[in-house]
Structure formats: C-alpha cells, structure tokens
Symmetry: C2
Subunit: 244 residues, 2 copies
C-alpha cells in the first residue's frame, strides 16, 4: 500500500507552508491551522479522498494534535472533510452532482445579494465594485490567473457585503468555499474569461442604475453560467478519464 501514487506527499506540501511566528502569542493556532488546511483542500493540493493522519499533520504543521483536531472538526462542518468514526477523516469528494446542487443555491443567494445591493448602492460603493471589475480586467489582459481569480471573488464578495445582510454574507462565505474548490479543480477558466467580464459589466450597470430586479436577474444568470460551464468541463474530463 505504499505505492508512490497512493500516499499523498503531505510532507512536501506542508513544508511549503511557511511557519508563521516562533514567538507567537496565544490563541492563534486554531485559526492558522484551519486556514492552512483549508487552503490545501480548496486549491486541490490535498486531493479528494486523501486521508488526513493527525499525527502526520502535527509533525508537518509543528503543532500538537489539539489544534489539528479542532481544525479537522471545523473543516468537516464546512463540508470540506468527511469524518468517519474511529477512522481518519478524508477530504470530501467533489462529485459533479454536488456542484450541480450548488448552482441553484449559489445563484439564488447571489441573486438575492444583487437585489439588496442594488437597493443600497451608493456612488462610492459602485465605484469600489467598479474598481474591482477593472482590476479583474487588468489581470485578464496580463493572463494572470491567480490575480484574476482573486479579483473575481472580491467583486462578488463586495456585492454581497453591499447587500448589508450579515446572514447572507455568512451563507455566501460557506458556499464560496465549495465554489472555489470546484473552480480550482477545473482549469476551464480561461475559456469563460471574456464572457464573465461582459456579464460583470452588465451587473455593474444594473447596480449603478439601482435596478434591483435587473441586478438580481443578471447576477443569478452570471453565477449559473459560470457554474454550469464548470460542470460541463468536469463531466467532459470525467468521461475522458473513464475506466482508468
């Protein structure tokens, strides 16, 4: 069972994570451990199905089992890990069915965000979101995927924040984890860049006009388009890798 393809090279992955501060202060380990592990899972560095050995994680992260266990519990609750009783937790599978389920929920949530945001949109807020849009375009012209990715997320997040509904933001952040994970797992993105930018422009226009109905509808469709393309790409890849 020790074929190189079977065991995850956790050591190598985590060695790249910089150890934050030797002279740290209390109360920071849980949060930082969660953040590190979450990043590994969302980016796909820890593949779906990978087993998480607590002792190994302790060694690599340089902390004891307590914060590691708490982090595992937290990420399990977020749906990124699956807990099996008395067995190692595993990275949650990323099945296409769940991403399809995400489409309806995320598009509805962002649609609501657009509706509320349009009603509250000030010139300043719209300008800020516009800036994020142009930042995204800049990264697009430079073919910088990570920057594009981040600006895109910031654009959406800012709209949700503008909606001014803390419960909505909370739910959006939970969903965003899974969306990000799905995005990282499919490198489809360059294909949809131009379309996404056009749709963002339309959304921005609706927000500027303060048209709640239109903003809601456009955000809903934008999210639906993006995730649907993602599902299509994953299905394609899944069929190509059939019967490996």
């Amino acid at each position: 069972m020790d074929s190189p393809a079977d065991t995850t090279p956790l050591a190598a992955l985590l060695a790249q994570v910089p150890q934050p501060e030797p002279g740290r202060r209390k109360g920071a380990l849980h949060g930082s451990t969660v953040a590190k592990l979450r990043n590994l899972i969302v980016t796909g560095a820890l593949a779906p199905g990978a087993k998480l050995n607590e002792r190994e994680l302790c060694l690599q992260l340089g902390v004891s089992r307590t914060p590691v266990r708490e982090a595992i519990k937290t990420l399990t609750q977020d749906g990124l890990l699956r807990a099996l009783p008395n067995k190692s937790s595993v990275v949650a599978e990323l099945d296409v069915g769940e991403i399809e389920a995400l489409i309806d929920v995320v598009s509805t949530i962002e649609g609501l965000a657009g509706e509320l945001a349009a009603a509250r949109a000030t010139d300043e807020a719209v300008a800020e979101i516009g800036m994020l849009h142009y930042r995204m375009m800049l990264h697009h012209t430079r073919d910088e995927l990570p920057g594009y990715f981040e600006a895109n997320k910031a654009f959406h997040r800012r709209i949700v924040e503008l909606a001014g509904n803390p419960v909505l933001l909370w739910i959006w952040e939970l969903l965003a984890l899974r969306v990000d994970r799905a995005r990282y797992s499919s490198n489809l993105w360059p294909k949809r860049w131009k379309m996404a930018i056009q749709e963002h422009e339309q959304i921005l226009a609706a927000l500027t006009a303060g048209d709640a109905t239109l903003a809601s509808q456009r955000l809903r469709e934008h999210v639906r388009n993006g995730l649907s393309g993602l599902v299509a790409a994953l299905k394609e890849r899944g069929e190509a890798a059939e019967g490996r």
Copy 2:
C-alpha cells in the same frame, strides 16, 4: 458578583439533562455534548449573553474539557456562541436586526426549496407532507405547543428534503437553528397558528398541482409572514422592557 440573577443556574439546567449511558462506546461524546448544549441555547434555557465556563460544563455534563471545547467550537461556527480570545465564550445575542436579516435569506431559501420540490413532487411525497400538515393541525386543536412546533418544522424540512438538493438542505439546517432560537424567544406563536395553517394548506395545494412558481411564492411569503410577526413581537417586548 454572586447575585442570583447574575449567575446562570447552569447546574439546575444541566442536571435535568439525562446522563445517556455510563457504559458508552467511543466517539459519542462530541455529538451528544453538542446536542445538549445546542438544545439549551436554542430553547433559550441558556440566555443570550450567558458565559460558558468550560470547567463548570465539564462537571455538569460529566465529561472532560476536550469534548466540551469541541462542542463550543462547533456551536460557535453555527453562530450560536461568540468566542472571545482568552475569555469565556458567550451565548450569541439575539438582536432583532439579525432576525430581520434572516427573513430575506430564509424566505429566499425556502422559496427555492418550494420551486424545486414542486417540480419533483410525487403523490407519495405530497401525501407525506400532507400528513405532517394534519399532524400539525391536530396539535393545534389540542393546544399542544411543542408538538405543533415540531410538526411545523417537520413540514418545512420535508419540503426542503423533497427539493432533492443536499446543499440546500445543509444551508436550511444552519438557518433553521437561528429561526428556532428566535421562535423560542418569542411566545407569539398562538397568535399566528390559524394563519400559518391556512398558508400551509395553500402551499400543499401548490405542491399537489406541481406548480413550481406558485409553491415558491407561497413558501416565500409564508416564511416572511412568520418571521415578520416574530420581529414585531420582539420589538414590542423590547420597547416594553425599555430602561429596565
């Protein structure tokens, strides 16, 4: 600082929680601890703002600090507790603003559930939901609040389950915690009983007809009515208790 009104009578509250099994098997403490604490918070037995002393909880629940701490972390993530660094966690405040924020999100989520459920409604599923509706009516005629409460929740949950979207169900369960908490905190319920039953009948009819648009709209409005009434009741009580 030991005035009887200041210190929560945690001992009394938790003494009522039956100790599950002395000869228990592994892996059950975390879950049961979470369930017990969650119930105390949601029902309001642990009042908003109450401090949770880990050692005290250990004594009362008969477990060590490890599962207690994990339970606190879990409930914090669910938004039922607030964690302060190096200080006792406290039961999250239940401010009216947050419940108002809940209205938009929950009504939208249940609206989506109604839409998806209507599209998938089989005779069997509708019959099952109808049964829950009549169970609720039965508890209504008998003036049994807990039973009514439970049947009402089961009615809504079953519709969300019928929608067949696991992400939607996950989000709904998270939101339901806060909704239940808000409901327990206001004993307004008897006032809305009849109205709620009528609305449920309308929803059931839309599901039976398989009319997704209508089911969505009626569920959205039903949830909005319920939570709005709740907010009004809480505001009224808040004004009555002004400057206590």
